[in-house]
Symmetry: C2
Subunit: 302 residues, 2 copies
């Protein structure tokens, strides 16, 4: 078995205050800590943006999940609430890039796009890819492996302050609401992740199998056509809505404007994700385009 032992795990909810699966889960674990306790590692629980959670908004002054690039973490005397909070979290779970940082962070998010249970990672760490591929092996319709390669220092995402970063992106769920089916499955998923980590540490993983696993690798984001006031001049074409991770071929509809005129996709086959994500309207992102690659990964029983 490859890789070092995992000595510290952190489970994060509320990095975005209106993404409630993680908020409710972490609150639950805080009052039921034995559910996330395992013998071979410590588990920390953090509600990342309590002020945004209280207000029921994604963030207060700045998207917290864009505040963890090294430059922002090292900024002197920050006066933006989320930059301050990111530096606090970096003190607790980092410092980013140091030998002392947390071994493994799981950050729980929601999307209004049909992301299922997306496992977003920035690095092909052996333990992390094995974990994700093993979840996929158990339930291939639910789990998707989404690779966002980015150099750790530049990556602005919270879990990148740890040695192994996993963003669990669950959808579709309207922000500010909770779907019980997702909550229940997410709780089971966290247990599966912790149990896998425990078995990884203690060499008790069973039935290894080399599997060719579909991996969706971030290519680029594309924006809506925009009107002069910045509002979208068109909508996601109906054939794409809720069709995340499905192939989009040359010549298929991409957008439709309010009069019914269609814009076609004129590139090679891609796999769009985060389709019609609410929070990305302000980020000039209508969807993210990925390429599907196949990678052989050692999987185990979950």
């Amino acid at each position: 078995m490859n890789g070092d032992k995992i000595k510290s795990v952190a489970i994060i909810g509320g990095t975005h205050g209106n993404e409630l699966t993680g908020v409710r889960l972490v609150e639950h674990y805080q009052s039921h800590p034995t559910e996330v306790k395992r013998s071979s590692f410590s588990t920390q629980l953090i509600l990342a943006n309590p002020m945004a959670i209280q207000k029921g908004t994604r963030y207060v002054e700045k998207d917290l999940n864009r505040c963890f690039a090294s430059a922002s973490l090292n900024q002197a005397n920050p006066n933006i609430l989320e930059v301050c909070r990111a530096q606090e979290i970096n003190q607790i779970l980092g410092p980013k890039g140091s030998a002392n940082c947390c071994d493994f962070i799981v950050d729980i998010h929601n999307s209004t796009a049909c992301m299922g249970f997306s496992l977003i990672i920035s690095r092909l760490d052996p333990m992390l890819t094995s974990l994700c591929a093993s979840l996929w092996r158990k339930e291939p319709q639910l789990f998707k492996l989404y690779l966002m390669p980015e150099s750790s220092g530049d990556a602005p995402y919270l879990p990148t302050i740890s040695k192994r970063d996993l963003c669990l992106e669950i959808g579709d769920q309207a922000h500010g609401t909770v779907r019980a089916d997702f909550y229940i499955r997410a709780k089971q998923c966290i247990a599966e992740i912790l149990d896998f980590t425990e078995k990884w540490n203690t060499n008790r993983l069973t039935t290894p199998q080399e599997l060719e696993v579909p991996l969706y690798q971030q290519w680029k984001n594309i924006d809506y056509p925009r009107r002069p006031d910045g509002s979208p001049a068109a909508m996601i074409a109906p054939n794409l809505q809720f069709k995340d991770y499905q192939p989009l071929h040359y010549g298929e509809p991409l957008f439709i404007d309010y009069s019914g005129n269609t814009t076609l996709w004129e590139g090679q086959t891609v796999y769009p994700v985060f389709i019609n994500e609410h929070a990305y309207y302000e980020k000039s992102i209508a969807m993210s385009l990925t390429h599907q690659i196949k990678k052989t990964i050692t999987t185990y029983d979950i």
Copy 2:
């Protein structure tokens, strides 16, 4: 044929600034006014809460769609943005309760609940019930007739300042997003409503049929169990999520808490709607309970 002729119609979008089907439709009609022009009546287009639309929020200071009760409309020197705006709109389309008020207002809303195309009315006006039942006759899976009886003076909803009030409630759609399929069908629906009104005025409605139509009559709202801080202590039970307008029987699950404990419904059969509506978390409403009644209504071809 019963009822007076309709001389004035108003189509409203953006009463809630983050419910975008109506916002995008009214914007579209403003630049394509012939699409809503008919010979026998005038059509006005209004974006009800422009400041909230700009901010991408439901409202700025107060829910505009709770500012149209007579007492609020007659309040002297209001200093709340939405109360002022309601009084302005009442000057344009009202005054509420007067002989001069608009004959027919269609107010377009969205919900995160699976409301389909709900036709919400406060009064059993002959033209309005015929219109709604005729839409239902054409597409019974899509359209639902939802009766919220309330004395007009007390009702706080925008369209109640007119002689005939119709709220078109479309969902599920995450607030702040647009689903193209809903937008396209809503545009068709507005054309159907205008064409029906034109035929009503000119006695050209065809193939009358007396039909027994299911009508969902508001009974009461119920709230989530709450924690001391006001946040919901439980979630909508998974069997209810997205099951608006379906019967809830005695003994079936209503809520589930974060540990998995279920609260059962212990009343007579009801038909819940607005299940898990995001905007109602702050209004202490987990869902609205309705009774299904049957009413014989004269329907026509749409």
